[in-house]
């Protein structure tokens, strides 16, 4: 036949192209039809981790207490530890729910609705990198997660090494007290990530022997423990620069405490300090800076 455009070679090329096009089309088509990940998180620390490993765009709803990073403030809120809004959570059709290990009722409800969940168990400093890695796997961001987790591990290890040779001050790590007085002081006990951060930063927790995360410290206990340094953590009601001195003057009445006498009382502020999230290495390094001036 004269004028037929397809030669034998051209036909083979066209067929190859066609096959490739078909395969490509099927492949992308399948991806489009596949579910885009929708993650609901009830734990602020885990929310931060997700954003830090690049999975922030998967987050569709957060807990009532989430505030970081700023973009989550616009997202729907679905309750928290005590009051998760089960109906709303299920109605949002998530592909993964991050919840607390103790929220067994919620887990049962999610199982019934065939929604996968990840149970977070609050623990010491070590849990942070473990959790980051697990989240990386669950959200398809393993590479970023691995990178972030090992970075944190590396920095903490370096910190421990750096401070190993330094003098380790006895430290009172306070995370709550009444303003303007020394009533209802709550300090870190010998367990939990705050304690671990302090130890990593080369400090010795005066309440290391107490097997609890928090200790209500009376004035007698503080006078008896004689801390060399007092670190106060504030995540809310952070005083302005010109008010800090006034805030810390409440400690003056404990004149025999070494930290008071040598004026080694430090106020560190910011939510990132009290969240066992991706910024724990920053936190530990901040501790180290004030401990080893």
């Amino acid at each position: 036949m004269n004028g037929c455009p397809l030669s034998a070679i051209g036909l083979r090329r066209c067929l190859t192209v066609a096959v490739f096009v078909a395969i490509y089309g099927l492949w992308t088509g399948h991806s489009i039809q596949a579910q885009k990940p929708r993650v609901i998180t009830l734990i602020p620390a885990l929310t931060e981790m997700l954003f830090a490993i690049g999975a922030g765009d998967q987050v569709i709803a957060v807990s009532s207490y989430d505030e970081d990073p700023p973009q989550v403030r616009a997202l729907p809120k679905v309750g928290a530890l005590i009051d998760p809004d089960v109906e709303r959570i299920i109605a949002l059709r998530p592909t993964l729910v991050l919840l607390y290990g103790s929220q067994t009722d919620l887990m049962t409800q999610l199982s019934r609705a065939s929604i996968p969940y990840y149970a977070y168990r609050h623990g010491g400093l070590g849990t942070v990198s473990v959790t980051i890695r697990e989240l990386g796997v669950r959200t398809g961001h393993s590479r970023e997660a691995e990178s972030l987790a090992s970075d944190i591990d590396r920095r903490l290890a370096a910190l421990r090494q750096r401070t190993a040779a330094l003098k380790k001050p006895r430290t009172l790590l306070v995370f709550g007290r009444e303003r303007g007085s020394l009533r209802n002081i709550y300090a870190s006990g010998g367990r939990g990530f705050l304690h671990d951060m302090l130890e990593a930063a080369g400090g010795v927790n005066v309440f290391a022997a107490v097997q609890a995360e928090s200790v209500q410290a009376s004035t007698e206990m503080i006078l008896a423990q004689k801390p060399d340094v007092i670190i106060e953590l504030r995540s809310t009601e952070i005083p302005a620069e010109n008010q800090r001195a006034a805030e810390l003057s409440s400690w003056k009445v404990l004149g025999s405490v070494p930290a008071v006498r040598s004026n080694r009382i430090h106020l560190l502020s910011g939510r990132w300090l009290v969240v066992p999230g991706p910024r724990v290495a920053d936190g530990a390094e901040a501790f180290a800076r004030v401990l080893h001036r």
Binding site: G176, R179, Q216, T219, E220, L223, S235, V253, S256
Partner: protein, 334 residues
């Protein structure tokens, strides 16, 4: 000498002696051993003298606060029980404590301590709440013609108690976690004042209340017989009830503002004292006031030493003593 006079001059000083002894010994005891010689050794610089600081900054204010709060709540308990003619009444029955607690919750939730009020915000709001609650109950109870109807008083007080308690739970629900912990801690009660200022601030209020109490004892005896009988014996029942209710509320409000709501003192101490001295309020009231101080200071001593190095909230110790005591009372009566 008549028996009343004899008992008054023997029994009350005996309680006074006991209380004095307890107050004297309590600051010397604690989870940390201290040397009294060092405490009073003025040659040692204040900043070097840990023992003195423990004694004067940590323990002494705490013991004084305990004595004030214990005596006030015990006395208020006696008055309330007489007023309501019910041995199960406590200073907290008529809603004053719930209103006070709500005031404190509001101060915490609204961050009033960030204003010029500073550390005084919570006690001030607490006392204000107590007075508001008292006023509401008082006006509800006096709407009945003539005097103060104790039935309406009880109903109004219990209702307000429930209502305010619900509001407290509501406030706790609304605040963020850090503030939630603060509210929960405050509700446990805390005698560790570490400063004499709050104590001095509450002394005038408590003083007025105790002075008013001092006018009441024989009248309380008669009130417990019934309004009609008391009136027939010459008691101005309406005035007596007003004084009793208002002074007991003032006392309770001041005590809660100082150390938070510490339960069981207002009911255990009056009962214990009555078991020992009978029901004549001229003896029960002063004896309970004294014994209340000794009782709370002792409970606080237990609270701060029994689980050394950490401390128990004093409200737990009073509850653990109060609960079994009442079971025993019930069994004994049955």
């Amino acid at each position: 000498m008549t028996s009343v006079r004899r008992r008054l001059t023997v029994v009350v000083p005996a309680f006074g002696l006991l209380t004095f002894a307890v107050l004297l010994v309590a600051p010397t005891l604690g989870s940390t051993p201290i040397s009294l010689r060092r405490v009073f050794d003025s040659s040692i610089a204040w900043d070097d003298n840990v023992d003195a600081q423990i004694f004067f900054v940590a323990r002494l204010p705490r013991v004084l606060a305990g004595a004030l709060v214990g005596s006030t709540l015990a006395a208020a308990g006696v008055v309330m029980q007489a007023l309501l003619r019910n041995p199960l009444a406590t200073p907290f029955t008529l809603g004053v404590s719930a209103a006070a607690a709500l005031g404190a919750m509001a101060a915490i939730a609204l961050h009033l301590d960030a204003t010029f009020l500073g550390a005084a915000a919570i006690p001030a709001a607490c006392f204000g709440g107590a007075m508001v609650g008292t006023t509401i109950v008082y006006f509800l109870a006096t709407r009945v013609s003539g005097g103060l109807s104790t039935n309406v008083l009880l109903l109004a007080g219990v209702t307000l108690n429930t209502f305010f308690s619900a509001l407290i739970t509501f406030v706790q629900y609304l605040v963020d976690p850090a503030d939630w912990y603060r509210t929960a801690r405050w509700l446990l009660g805390n005698l560790d004042v570490s400063s004499y200022t709050p104590i001095l601030a509450s002394v005038p209020l408590i003083g007025i209340a105790l002075l008013l109490f001092a006018l009441l004892p024989r009248t309380l005896n008669l009130l417990t017989l019934g309004d009609d009988v008391a009136s027939g014996r010459g008691v101005d029942v309406a005035t007596a009830q007003r004084i009793a209710f208002l002074s007991a509320s003032l006392a309770t409000g001041a005590a809660i503002s100082l150390a938070g709501p510490i339960g069981f003192i207002g009911i255990v101490v009056p009962h214990l004292v009555r078991l020992l001295v009978g029901s004549d309020h001229r003896i029960v009231l002063p004896a309970a006031t004294l014994f209340g101080a000794a009782f709370l200071v002792s409970c606080d001593l237990i609270a701060r030493t029994i689980m050394s190095p950490i401390e128990l909230p004093v409200g737990i110790v009073t509850a653990m003593i109060g609960g079994p005591f009442f079971l025993w009372l019930l069994v004994r009566k049955a």
